[in-house]
């Protein structure tokens, strides 16, 4: 009963496909409704700024909780125990930065994009260009990680193994089909629904994924009479690791016996990852632009309250799901299905369903959790595509090339084509890169956000002396150092799991996560760049700070 694919009959797959189809139809319906009232640039980029705190909070949760969190963290906990939990803690604590410093100020001082806030006090073109390049890099890294994962996930969720066929597709073509369908859907959401449609899609999908994770976690706990300690005990015993399974150290910062240097690097790598996670979230463009969809700064801040509640609850649920899968599915069965552990939550749902209502129950639960994972993929990629298209249209096309003279209508038309273009490129790259190990791209996106975006955003809000040269140096410094260090790290070459494999060895930087070096480096670049230029603009700083704290002069709901 543990091996998904062998048990998975065609009728089960048809049930899963049917639920996928329901999800697709519902979200397309939502998109068409949202698209009907999308006319102005404010509608397209910021959903008309009419979303309430709870609505934007749910949409942020939809935007943020990716399939990597949903399946990846549960899987990591199932295989490595405690260390998977460590990841989710960074993802949550990071929201304190967004809550206390960023959400309200950003909403009050920008219009559509991160570059709006960053370039407010500065010379427009150089800062907008830099900020837009950072936005595009972060969003495209993140998007590629999601898209490449999508193919594997869809085949996993449908239970198609190598050598099997379903509806005439073997595993390879099912992967490509998964990527293409996801690509078409995300482009459709954004191009037809704009931010309004995308927001409602994300609200709906947040309800689906968090609701189903909640139901599954309750069912798991019910098996243990809501005794968490008993669940952990079973998980530790089933893992074969005993108490070590419940302690840090099986995956991150591992101690290599007899190699103290490698042990040191591993531990620094863990700290580096922790830093990027906690400082990266408040610099992720696809999350930040969501704050512009609220009527004012206060609502933007209150939407973070909702987001923290939902995201926090979700990560507590993954803890239960991960340990539940370790206890009730077992490591061997999970690894047999997917070596990275991504199948842990779906397999757990099948076991739970079977305990309740036999094989039919198993099939239904599996299909439900599979569609929750599908929802997670779709809502995140849609958020990423809209971040890219907004930045391309508003920052590069209108701000830089047209010097702000294009009409709102031209900007919207450009943004729609940009969404199609970015979507097409992402699909093509993802299809060719599907056998590469691109999991590092998520960590890289967080590292760039933490190194390039967050320091410059905070300086521009709070440091009077900060200027164009500082912003440009900070953004490029953080961006180039993050990417550069990853290229020369073990994730890129020199080990069997590297992107380029073992054959190539250009790795001189020992850490997989660049944050520990690139975040301070981005910060120093911003400071040095600032001090080397004489430019200051005290009036602009004063007005930005007053705007950020009071919302004076900010565009409100329904502005045309």
């Amino acid at each position: 009963m543990n091996i998904l694919a062998q048990e998975m009959s065609d009728s089960n797959r048809i049930l899963t496909i049917a639920l996928f189809m329901v999800m697709v139809l519902v979200t397309i319906g939502i998109t068409i409704r949202g698209g009907r009232s999308t006319k102005t640039a404010t509608d397209f980029h910021s959903g008309g700024r009419g979303f309430s705190a709870w609505q934007n909070g749910f949409a942020v949760a939809g935007d943020y909780v990716s399939a990597a969190s949903f399946l990846g963290i549960a899987g990591t906990i199932a295989l490595y125990g405690y260390d998977g939990f460590l990841y989710s803690i960074g993802f949550l604590v990071a929201w304190i930065v967004a809550l206390l410093l960023v959400a309200e100020s950003l909403r009050n001082s920008g219009r559509f994009t991160v570059a709006d806030a960053l370039s407010y006090r500065m010379r427009q073109r150089p800062v907008r260009t830099a900020a837009s390049i950072a936005t595009l890099s972060i969003s495209i890294f993140y998007l590629l990680a999601q898209m490449v994962g999508t193919g594997a996930l869809v085949t996993l969720l449908l239970g198609i193994k190598e050598g099997e066929t379903f509806l005439g597709m073997d595993a390879g073509s099912a992967k490509v089909a998964g990527i293409v369908v996801t690509g078409l859907l995300m482009v459709a959401y954004v191009a037809f629904g704009g931010m309004k449609g995308t927001t409602w899609v994300q609200i709906f999908q947040a309800c689906v994924k968090i609701g189903l994770a909640f139901v599954l976690a309750i069912l798991v706990l019910a098996e243990y009479n809501f005794n968490l300690s008993a669940l952990l005990g079973d998980a530790a015993q089933a893992s074969g690791q005993g108490a070590a399974f419940l302690e840090p150290g099986l995956k991150y910062g591992t101690e290599v016996a007899g190699d103290s240097v490698q042990t040191l690097w591993n531990k620094l790598d863990l700290i580096s990852l922790g830093l990027a996670l906690v400082l990266g979230t408040a610099g992720l463009p696809h999350v930040l632009i969501r704050f512009y969809t609220t009527p004012d700064g206060k609502t933007a801040r209150k939407s973070v309250n909702w987001a923290i509640g939902l995201i926090g609850m979700f990560y507590l649920l993954t803890l239960v799901l991960g340990f539940g899968a370790a206890a009730m599915v077992g490591k061997e069965a999970i690894v047999a299905e997917n070596p990275a552990g991504n199948s842990a939550a779906p397999q757990l749902s099948q076991v739970i369903g079977e305990n309740i209502a036999g094989s039919t129950g198993g099939a239904i639960m599996l299909a439900l959790i599979a569609s929750a994972a599908f929802a997670a993929i779709l809502s995140v990629v849609a958020g990423l595509i809209i971040a890219c298209s907004s930045s391309l249209a508003h920052d590069l096309y209108n701000g830089v090339f047209k010097r702000g003279e294009a009409s709102g209508r031209q900007e919207v038309v450009f943004a729609k084509f940009a969404a199609v273009g970015v979507g097409a490129i992402a699909v093509v790259i993802a299809v060719f890169a599907q056998d590469l190990n691109v999991a590092f791209l998520v960590a890289l996106a967080f590292a760039v956000a933490a190194s390039a975006n967050l320091p410059t955003l905070l300086f521009s809000l709070f440091w009077k002396r900060f200027n164009t040269a500082g912003a440009v140096a900070g953004i490029y410094g953080g961006l180039i150092s993050s990417i550069g260090l990853v290229i020369f790290s073990p994730t890129f070459s020199s080990t069997p799991t590297s992107l380029l494999g073992e054959g190539v060895d250009i790795a001189w930087f020992p850490l997989s996560n660049p944050g520990l070096v690139s975040i301070p480096f981005g910060l120093i670049c911003a400071v040095v760049g600032t001090l080397m230029s004489k430019e200051t603009n005290p009036t602009r700083f004063a007005s930005m700070q007053v705007r950020a704290l009071t919302g004076a002069g900010a565009e409100r709901a329904g502005t045309h």
């Binding site: 405690y82 939990f85 460590l86 803690i89 960074g90 949550l92 604590v93 304190i96 930065v97 809550l99 206390l100 410093l101 968490l228 300690s229 008993a230 952990l232 005990g233 530790a236 108490a243 070590a244 419940l246 302690e247 840090p248 150290g249 991150y252 910062g253 531990k267 863990l270 700290i271 922790g274 906690v278 009527p295 206060k298 801040r301 209150k302 973070v304 309250n305 923290i308 509640g309 926090g312 507590l316 009036t539 602009r540 004063a542 007005s543 700070q545 007053v546 705007r547 704290l549 009071t550 919302g551 004076a552 002069g553 900010a554 565009e555 409100r556 709901a557 329904g558 502005t559 045309h560």
Partner: protein
């Protein structure tokens, strides 16, 4: 209370200089100080607590493995404490802004938008 437009229509015409003039107003200076006195220490404390947690996970594994009861060890409790702290700060900031920030900030905005900021 608030007279800024809530519904349709563009924001009233207002120049940068008019907004910037509020920056030196004692009420704005006080508002800024009140806000930063809350956010900066809270932010630094929460990041420090997170960093302590990550460092303990990296370097103090025996400590994290101390069993408190049943199968619940100190590492799990400290990890869950990060959730508790995050929720608690969210609640606390919400209470702080309701008491000491939102009304004051809205009053200043109204002043600026009605041309009374100087």
């Amino acid at each position: 209370m608030t007279t800024t437009p809530e519904g349709d229509g563009p924001p009233p015409e207002i120049t940068d200089a008019e907004i910037a003039a509020m920056h030196d107003d004692p009420r704005f200076v006080a508002l800024k100080r009140t806000l930063f006195r809350f956010t900066v220490p809270v932010l630094l404390a929460s990041l420090a607590w997170y960093l302590v947690y990550v460092l303990l996970s990296a370097y103090a594994r025996d400590f994290m493995g101390i069993v408190l009861f049943g199968n619940i060890n100190l590492g799990l409790i400290l990890g869950l404490s990060q959730f508790v702290v995050t929720f608690w700060i969210t609640w606390g900031y919400n209470r702080f802004t309701a008491r000491h920030f939102d009304q004051q900030s809205a009053d200043l905005r109204d002043d600026i938008m009605n041309g009374g900021g100087r």
